[in-house]
Amino acid sequence: MSGVVAHDDVVVTAPVTVPYSRYSVRNAHWFCAQALAGLLQSSGLPKSEIDGLCVGSFTLAPDSAIGLTQHLGVTVRWLDYLPLGGACGVVALRRALRAVQSGDAEVVACIGADTNHVDSFRQTLESFSVFARDAVFPYGSGGPNASFAFLTAYYMRLYGATREDFGKICIAQRDNALAYPNALFKKPLSMREYLEGRVIADPIHLFDCVMPCAGAEGFLVMSRRRAENLGLPYARVRSTCERHNAFPEDPIQMRGGWVLDRDRLYGSAGIEPCDVDFVQTYDDYPVMSAMQIEDLGFCEKGAAPEFIRRHTFTTEGSFPINTCGGQLSVGQAGCAAGFLGLVESIRQLSGRNLARPVPNARFGLAVGYGMITYDRGLCSAAAILSRADA
């Protein structure tokens, strides 16, 4: 649409996951190194061919992306650091696309990586933002569970969602995860187990929560010609969007910035929501999946509970979401969580050999969301990818 230059000739390839672990004694640099090594291995490129690097991480401190260049021994002419949590994957993709398109870089490695030591999560929470330190953490120190308890309770009251509705999403994602080798949770989940999960911060119970863990995700952004010359299967990027601090006047977050951007998102891609074959929602809590289903145009605001009751969400279902299990079943590896949906979308759309492919998938939507610096997630982002021939 107006003002947005299409990026037809730039593609994403080489989806890489560094296997997750609940805790790790390694630091974030180790995970970044493993991710970069994986990108080189899967693309067959030598390190010297990587001339752009984009990193999302919370646990690199005191380093940022620049320290990483020396640590990993890469010489790049384009560098970006995006500690944007759940939005950093889509935002990294957007930055990298433009860098390649404009000729500032030819091959950009995008990596989201975080470690998780035994006390990392608490430390990240207590110093996550000035607002959180001053006005959230001293109130029960429940972390995101408490923040999303507010949003979930409000949403349930306003739109009549039930715990069973959210449970249905969690259970379907767990089913998807059973075939995904990197998922931390490999046991089927029943509705009874979901409902009886211990209460964390009502109405949030155990299986509504992601497990903080260590891990990394990455992909390469390069020109289509380059990918084809290298013989790399790729996915096309049809359209992307990002929005930060949307609707600051809303007293409590019941919608994200996608509402402002979805027309342009689908318009640039030349498709409608009904053309999307799967959605990787940003599922830090199931209520966010519900909001994304609404805000990205799959149903009206407030209609997600009814939508959930009408659909099935496994890879073979009527509305496949989080086809590798999502964070709820794979784990939330800090900023890698912002890459998880994108990396899985690239796999689904670039003909990788998957145990649970979405049948005949042509278009996929990966959603980014995050950064609760006070009472709401500030970032919302999304990307529509397609198969090479779509």
């Binding site: 330190r133 120190s141 007293p251």
Partner: protein, 414 residues
């Protein structure tokens, strides 16, 4: 209504006393304005001087018009409870020990959305609430959502009691029982539900009718305590220091001299010996044990009260040496507050104007009655405030001091 706080069971002396753990206490400089207001019992938020926009969380510039001219202004706190939850799983040991912990999200009528500790008598959401500010066990200002209308036993809310120092079922030491103020303090705090009041007596050979009447009360025990004598303080601390939940240091020497009205340093030295060194001796004698018992059950050690004087803020020359000794005590109490803060023991400073006693006999009214002073101390304990300025004179001096301390100095020395 709130379930009334009932007498805690006697502690099993074999069990370990839990160490006090503070809730998260780190704050940005901007946010300390909330703590400063809460310390005086006020709920203030930043308001933009340029566009009137009310800000929260505290910030460096107006979130609307970017003006840096933000001023802390008192709020009525009314708002709508949007959502509430009980945190069962907390990241912090302080809240883990006290789980579940109820919190709420409130849209203030004044504009911002705030996260609050939620009183048990509120809600469930949606409902109207009134937000107020208190100091928590870290000594930092926090917001609390209260029911709009007063309910029975409101102060007995389990979470609210973490922010206050209610004397109910607690044991109190009053360092000087010989004065009218000391006796009024004892009676008032017994009326507020204190279990036991030790009343200090520096010179047991001197008879005092008031003290004798007081000692007839079943809750009162007289203890020998002379703040000018280190061994007396050590002895008292050794005998009762491990049981004192609230210490009220009201002992003072007040002589009405400036500098040239009396030669030598004997009177000034005596004032310093009680008003300043007395506090230092007490702090060394009783401080460590109180710190160690700050999480000792639902009615454990909780507060330390210093009787200072409004003259501690700015010297009142006709009582020049007394003012100086109270200024010294104020300064020392700030150090004591810092040392106590990690434990959660609140240090309360009381800054009365002239008390209606012998030493203020030449001063014109209004003067503060002993009973009024005692009431203000008990209110401060119940409200959990840190600085109290009882009486009209103290309030007026405070207002002048806050406006311009240099002008107040000129006025007092005119």
């Amino acid at each position: 209504m709130t379930a009334p706080f009932t007498r805690p069971k006697r502690k099993n002396p074999v069990l370990r006393t839990r160490l006090p753990l503070p809730p998260p206490g780190a704050r940005s400089r901007a946010a300390l304005g909330l703590s400063a207001a809460a310390a005086m019992g006020k709920f203030k938020l930043q308001v933009c001087e340029a566009c009137r926009c009310v800000q929260y969380p505290p910030r460096e510039a107006c979130g609307s018009c970017l003006s840096p001219r933000l001023r802390w202004r008192e709020q009525d706190g009314f708002g709508e409870l949007l959502a509430d939850t009980q945190v069962h799983l907390s990241q912090e040991p302080y809240f883990r020990e006290r789980a579940p912990w109820r919190i709420g999200m409130v849209r203030l009528d004044a504009g911002p959305t705030v996260i609050v500790h939620l009183h048990s008598a509120c809600g469930p959401a949606p409902c109207r609430v009134r937000v107020g500010a208190r100091l928590d066990k870290a000594g930092q200002g926090v917001l609390i959502g209260f029911p709009v209308d007063e309910v029975a036993n409101m102060a007995d809310d389990r979470q609210l009691r973490e922010m206050t120092c209610d004397p109910k079922f607690r044991k109190v030491l009053i360092t000087d029982g010989k004065t009218a103020v000391g006796q009024a303090l004892a009676r008032t705090i017994i009326a507020a539900g204190a279990d036991l009041v030790w009343v200090g007596q520096a010179e047991p050979w001197k008879r005092s009718a008031g003290l004798e009447a007081l000692s007839a009360l079943p809750q009162v025990a007289i203890v020998p305590l002379d703040l000018t004598d280190s061994s007396s303080v050590v002895e008292a601390a050794g005998s009762i220091g491990g049981r004192v939940d609230i210490l009220i240091n009201n002992a003072e020497v007040h002589r009405t001299y400036g500098i040239s009205a009396r030669n030598g340093t004997d009177a000034a030295r005596l004032e310093m010996d009680v008003n300043y060194f007395g506090l230092l001796r007490l702090a060394q004698g009783f401080g460590p044990a109180m710190r160690g018992r700050a999480a000792d059950g639902a009615a454990g050690a909780t507060a330390w009260v210093n009787l200072l004087s409004i003259y501690a803020l700015s010297n009142f020359p006709p009582h020049g040496t007394f003012s100086a000794s109270k200024a010294a005590a104020l300064s020392l109490s700030q150090a004591l507050r810092a040392e106590m803060r990690g434990s959660g023991i609140r240090v309360i400073n009381v800054f009365p104007g002239p008390i209606d006693d012998e030493w203020n006999q030449p001063l014109p009214p209004p003067k503060l009655a002993a009973e009024a002073l005692a009431k203000s101390v008990v209110s401060a304990l119940k409200d959990g405030v840190e600085d109290v300025y009882p009486g009209d004179v103290a309030q007026e001096w405070l207002a002048r001091w806050e406006e311009n301390p240099k002008v107040l100095e000129r006025e007092l020395t005119a």
